[in-house]
Amino acid sequence: MLTHDTLGIVFANMHEQSVMDMTQERSMASLPFGGRYRLVDFPLSAFVHAGISQVGIVTKSNYQSLMDHIGTGRDWDLARRKGISFLSPYSYTSSEGNMVFHGRIEAIYAIRDFIEHAPCEYVVLSDSDHVCSPDIEDIVNFHIRNKADVTMVCRDPDPDPDNVSNSIAVKVGDDNRITDIMFNRYSEDYLQSINIMVVGRLKLLELVEEASSHAKTMFERDILLANLDTLKVCAYRCSGYVRRITGLKSYYKVSLELNDPEVTAQLFGSQVIYTKVHDSPPVRYSIGCSVKDSFVADGCTIEGTVENCVLFRDVTVEKGAVVRNSVLMQNTFVGKGAELDCVVSDKDVTVSEGKKLSGDSEYPLYIKKKSVV
């Protein structure tokens, strides 16, 4: 449990341009993942496990599904006196009229009242593009111990080009201090940021006020990189399971990694990941079904063959249907004798009897929400 009061802030929309298809009607934070979760569950659960009880969620667009998911925050134990606050797409009035923020600096500037009034010493800022279960208490304590102005949470570098695009790499010198920041480039000498930061609350307000008055927009470039000599920016190395969702391909790949028990032990074993409760009944496996190597959420009915899949809640696989190497989101229906291979189906998709669909493991086939094939 953290010894200092700390505020959590989740940015719900950052990076969603990279997974365009799946975020057409939802925010990055509400992207379904792992059978019953949405990406926002990872930072929220990590906050709650560290004892953070006040969280702001910064939204910009497409946030209806996110609001529906979060509700009162009860399922994360955040239905508290000062629990979870939706920081709706704060349009702020400027000399140019009503504006919606661009970039993290404007986003924070737009919610500065909320941060000013939070009775906290530190602020943890997190995007929702990473699948991980970080120890926030350890991260904040690291920040305090190092007397840092800003701490960036980082992972070992991954040369996968998909991972490098839109990534932030940092070079770490003595005393965990960051000496350089690079954008969209891989180097084995640099760590990669996982877009979680710790800042003192007053420091954050001061930095953002200053940057905002100079029309700056990008936090990492305009505040951190520009001031590396005067600000003490430290890197915390996160050693557990960390994956970044950068598009359909990585979404697919990371999803199927859940069929590795070591991955699930790391992701779910150290701390419970909370999510919205749905009251789905247990999964029914009928006589004659065949299921291997799959991660299956409650509410499914399995009569056919399922191999190496992630099935979200309430998926139906009828008799004679064969589903392999696929991720089927909530309420996907696979009719009799249909065959799917390397498919990502969004919510409420119906694949009719006998249809055959396949993609490639490097290029999975995505089926849009509510489609009927």
Binding site: R36, F268, D279, P281, P282, R284, Y285, S286, K292
Partner: protein
């Protein structure tokens, strides 16, 4: 003021569930993969628009109290009403444990009076069924009865195991027989009553003053009302209803869920059954697993073979283990090469490698000796131990030991 308040009798020990109810009250016993028995009456209340429920607890209430909590999962955390746990309490003029079902309600007259209801619905915490209590209440109102009793048809040859209601063609009950030798009708009481509160209140007080009474609804209150010529109406319920008061019936009721032609549909979104969630990740079926005709829920991991069984949250079946016709309650673990047949393994118990639990009816010398084997909660069954069919295990079993 509330039209109807529900009182749920949840204080019984459930002694015929033996090892399963050593530390918990019967309504807290797990059922159907992710439910507990009490989820059924609570969800039925929520789905019937009854928003005020008193839960009468007495025997081992801790786990049940925690489970009910503020009633949020059943939408019973209300500003006015909601779910209230009601243990016996001390009064200015002496106090006592709940002496019987009627006495439990009688001791809580003040609770019911706070809501000034017209009707009181009395429920049991040991039945699995889905029911819209509004329909029963409608019958009660339309027939202007003082008491309406939910009944269902049972096979005539089994009727002598139940409380039998003899009613005329309009459903007006003229006689009640508890477990009659020669039943005159096949209408069994389901232990679900609607009373007009003013009438019940009077009978409860009268019963309370009678030191000879067992203070029981079936034995005392209902016969007394019949004797006085109060209007007693039968409400015929059609659908699945099961008393899960014994090991065999609890196992049966779980197996019913695996029968594809069985009418009981826990899964329909209509009148959904709610439960307090465990927040576990989806379950995992490995490449070495073999799963047939089973119910599996969150947090489970299956590496071995599972056939015609129910796996509750966090159950674990290791590679080479075989589980058939069994229930693995939350957190139960069956290790490599162990065999579990026709058994109930209670919460967090571990069956070590090579152990063999339970047996098939065919392998039993006589069907009378056969039964479901039960391993109580938080126990370890040692390596290569053998637990015969029908055994009831309360303590750890050592390596290689044989238990009958």
């Amino acid at each position: 003021m509330k039209e109807c308040v529900a009182m749920l009798l949840a204080g019984g020990q459930g002694s015929r569930l033996y090892a399963l109810t050593q530390n918990i009250a019967k309504p807290a016993v797990p059922y159907g993969g992710k439910y507990r028995i009490i989820d059924f009456p609570l969800s039925n209340c929520a789905n019937s628009g009854i928003d005020t429920v008193g839960v009468l607890t007495q025997y081992q209430p801790l786990e049940l109290n925690e489970y009910i909590g503020n009633g949020k999962p059943w939408d019973l955390d209300r500003l006015d009403g909601g779910v209230h746990v009601l243990p016996p309490y001390q009064k200015a003029s002496g106090s006592d444990w709940y002496l019987g079902t009627a006495n439990a309600i009688c001791q809580n007259i003040a609770f019911i009076d706070r809501y000034d209801p017209q009707y009181v619905l009395v429920l049991s915490g040991d039945h699995i069924y889905k029911m819209d209590y509004r329909k029963m209440l409608d019958v009660h109102k339309a027939s202007e009865a003082d008491c309406t009793i939910s009944v269902m048809k049972v096979p005539m040859e089994e009727a002598s195991r139940f409380g039998i209601m003899n009613a005329d063609e309009n459903g007006v009950i003229y006689e009640f027989e508890e477990k009659p030798k020669n039943p005159k009708s096949d209408l069994a009481s389901m232990g679900i009553y609607v009373f007009s509160w003013s009438v019940l209140r009077e009978y409860l007080l009268r019963d309370d003053a009678n030191s000879e009474s067992d203070h029981d609804f079936g034995k005392n209150i209902i016969p007394a009302m019949l004797n006085d010529g109060k209007k007693m109406q039968a409400y015929a319920f059609e659908g699945y209803w099961k008393d899960v008061g014994t090991i065999a019936s609890l196992w049966d009721a779980n197996m019913d869920l695996l029968n594809p032609s069985h009418p009981f549909d826990v899964w329909s979104k209509e009148n959904r059954i709610y439960s307090r969630p465990l927040s576990l990740p989806p379950h995992y079926i490995s490449a070495t697993a073999e799963v047939q005709n089973s119910l599996i829920t969150e947090g489970s991991q299956v590496y071995g073979s599972v056939d015609t069984s129910v796996l509750f949250g966090g159950a674990y079946v290791e590679e080479g283990a075989e589980v058939s016709y069994s229930l693995l309650l939350p957190g139960a673990r069956v290790k490599k090469g162990a065999k579990v047949m026709y058994s109930i393994i209670a919460g967090n118990s571990v069956v070590e490698e090579g152990a063999c639990i339970g047996g098939t009816p065919e392998d039993s010398e006589s069907i009378d000796d056969w039964g479901i084997a039960v391993v109580g909660p938080n126990l370890t069954v040692g390596k290569n131990a053998v637990i015969k069919a029908n055994a009831m295990i309360y303590d750890n079993v050592q390596e290689g030991e044989v238990k009958c």
